[in-house]
Symmetry: C2
Subunit: 404 residues, 2 copies
């Protein structure tokens, strides 16, 4: 029998984004002195550089003034907000959403992911996840005692689409996978799945009766006018086997309110509500009021926000490509880059520590996302100049630690 200590040993948080403040400083093995510059924390977006819509705080205060009816909502979220949001999400994703039975508001998109996984995984269930993908995916499967079936995404070799290995995906499905979770745009690479890939995924899900959780957290920030396809819009899957997850924490910068949404299968939503009832009851009632502005942003505000991120992407991709031996796939959607470094004379974990200590730059080691000992992730939703300068410092550090 597994002990609680063994169960939690797999759930490390020390290197998780935002937790670096808890790391002890290790000076051993550092080469050279500081590479000074303004501190940049690439582990998450900077809401000072890209703040939420100004009206969010007003909506929050209105919710607070509403009092009891806003403080104590149904566990799945305030009905009037759900009614409006179901229509907006249906319009955005191209398939109907019932406010009554197919939508739940959650504490952040993380909350939606936790509930969706908890509402589907029974211990021993085989669960397919993508490598690389969001670092919590693996931990969730492990927490719920599912069996991990990783499927590689060959993001550097993809001719078209994200580069998911569909043959390997089918093998895992044939081998008994019950649930498949993936993000598009992909976290950490910013790769967007093509319609061909999504059709193949849906076809395999139908063939083998696999349920799908589709994390579309960054679906509103697509670059270069590229087409973005919502799996649910294709109408190829039984809607009861599909859950889609979104939230206003990224492009919309509302992470401080902890809001997310999951929509799809009524049976799954019903189980997710039961789980939410014991996890945290509901997304903070007053915070829910902020969702009134979601998908109602001024068009020009959203256009500018996406354009500004595309510009930063271009700048940073240019900077990384100037580093000899560094490979980077330009982000197609979202705010992440996942550059692969040339061979270094220190472990990536130590290089990441050195970046933080010597260059005032925080990045997230690639091993959080799968077996990527030569890569790290950055969230480039930052002040543009500060981000460019920080990547130039990374370049200096690469030279300092480059393998002979």
């Amino acid at each position: 029998m597994i002990t609680i200590e063994e169960k939690f040993a797999k759930l490390g948080v020390d290197n998780a984004p935002g937790q670096e403040v808890r790391l002890k400083s290790v000076d051993a093995g550092l080469a050279g002195g500081p590479v000074p510059g303004v501190r940049v924390d690439f582990s998450h977006g900077d809401v000072n550089a890209f703040p939420p819509l100004p009206c969010t705080i007003d909506l929050f205060c209105e919710g607070f003034r509403l009092g009891a009816e806003q403080a104590y909502t149904e566990y799945r979220g305030k009905r009037s907000l759900c009614d409006a949001l179901a229509q907006k999400l249906a319009a955005f994703t191209g398939a109907p959403v019932s406010a009554d039975s197919e939508l739940i508001l959650t504490p952040g998109t993380q909350g939606a992911l936790f509930l969706a996984m908890g509402a589907n995984i029974v211990r021993g269930d085989k669960v397919a996840i993508v490598e690389p993908d969001y670092f919590a995916n693996r931990k969730l499967v492990e927490f719920f005692e599912g069996e991990l079936c990783p499927v590689p995404m060959n993001y550097f070799e993809a001719g078209e689409g994200a580069g998911l290995n569909l043959e390997r995906l089918e093998e895992t499905f044939r081998d008994g996978v019950k649930l498949f979770l993936f993000s598009t745009p992909n976290n950490p690479t910013g790769a967007v799945y093509s319609e061909r890939e999504l059709r193949a995924i849906a076809g395999l899900a139908n063939k083998y009766g696999v349920k799908i959780i589709c994390d579309e957290l960054y679906a509103r920030q697509i670059f270069d006018g590229r087409p973005y396809v919502h799996l649910r819009s294709l109408g190829l899957m039984d809607p009861e086997n599909l859950m889609t997850i979104m939230g206003p924490s990224k492009t919309e910068s509302a992470s401080g309110f902890r809001l997310g949404a999951a929509f799809g299968s009524a049976a799954m939503i019903s189980r997710m509500e039961k789980l939410q009832a014991v996890v945290s009851l509901r997304a903070a009632g007053y915070c829910q009021a902020v969702l009134g502005s979601w998908f109602s942003e001024p068009e020009e505000w959203m256009r500018q926000r996406v354009a500004a991120h595309q510009q930063i992407r271009d700048d940073l991709v240019g900077e990384f490509r100037r580093i000899p031996g560094c490979m980077v796939r330009p982000t197609e959607g979202g705010s992440y880059l996942f550059p692969r470094m040339p061979k270094l004379k220190v472990e990536m974990q130590d290089f990441v520590s050195a970046l933080r200590i010597q260059a005032n730059v925080t990045v997230t080691p690639g091993t959080e996302f799968g077996p990527y000992t030569d890569s790290f992730r950055i969230n480039f939703s930052q002040d543009r100049q500060a981000a460019v300068d920080a990547v130039r410092r990374i370049a200096q550090m690469v030279e300092r630690y480059r393998a002979e």
Copy 2:
């Protein structure tokens, strides 16, 4: 192997407080017409009748203006807030709390409870809970696939203290219980555990190596100048085996912000943080700022709030005692009453529905708290006159449905 549907079948939410809005109206079996009056929802407190401190919204807005540093805190909560809160919680509960290792901020007290249970229960573990106690306790044990060991609290027969059956508690401990969870003041009865009971619990926990989660959510609202003893203040237990849970959702009426705190065992806090990282990352960052006012309320504000609730308790206990055959134990702490009704000619579940449909009064059926088919719970943190009128309507309804 259990299926996901079987696992969730035990986690009903239809009768959970606040979910009544989702119940379908059932008119069958209703006797007589409406008993009109202002709607009172006793399933939770009314923050319109007892609002949060006015400064809470200002603190929230200040947190929002702080931006990034408030939006993205450590998973266990913003360090400066934890530093201040650890001192306040230590002073209140009479034992030290390390801000660095022994405290975590959570999305509501429910969040603290979920994390504490999830960080301690491995499937198959025997877990002792009290009957009656908070309805989520049982569900949490079931969700984490522990084995429930209920211990009765004879709240009507207690000469002193809450009336926990200590002999039965020792039997369950001797039988292999790993974890014991209880609330003081007790939810739903408002009974406060005596120092004698707490000493006995600590002694048994030490003797059998049992870990304890002590839910003190209502510990700041104690009536009649009664002594209240914090289990952790006794210094009888290994601090690594004890977790205490509190939050500002009840007496302080800050439920709409979803804030809670757990403090104690550093090993448990470490696991709880790992779990929080995949459940919802953190309590909403901007909401955390509201904790600046917690335990810093004007003394007179707190005094008046407790006195006002004591007055409502007195009024309602008087009203219930006017109903022939009704038994009620006066609340010693918190805002709950758990009256036992005389024999009715309908099931309690149907009586509760009739109260809602005919008398505009929402109560929570006793079966949510254990095998209590003759009782219901009310939260009397309500407008005083509305609450008195509502209990008078309950009295009319009891006569209408009283068994011949």
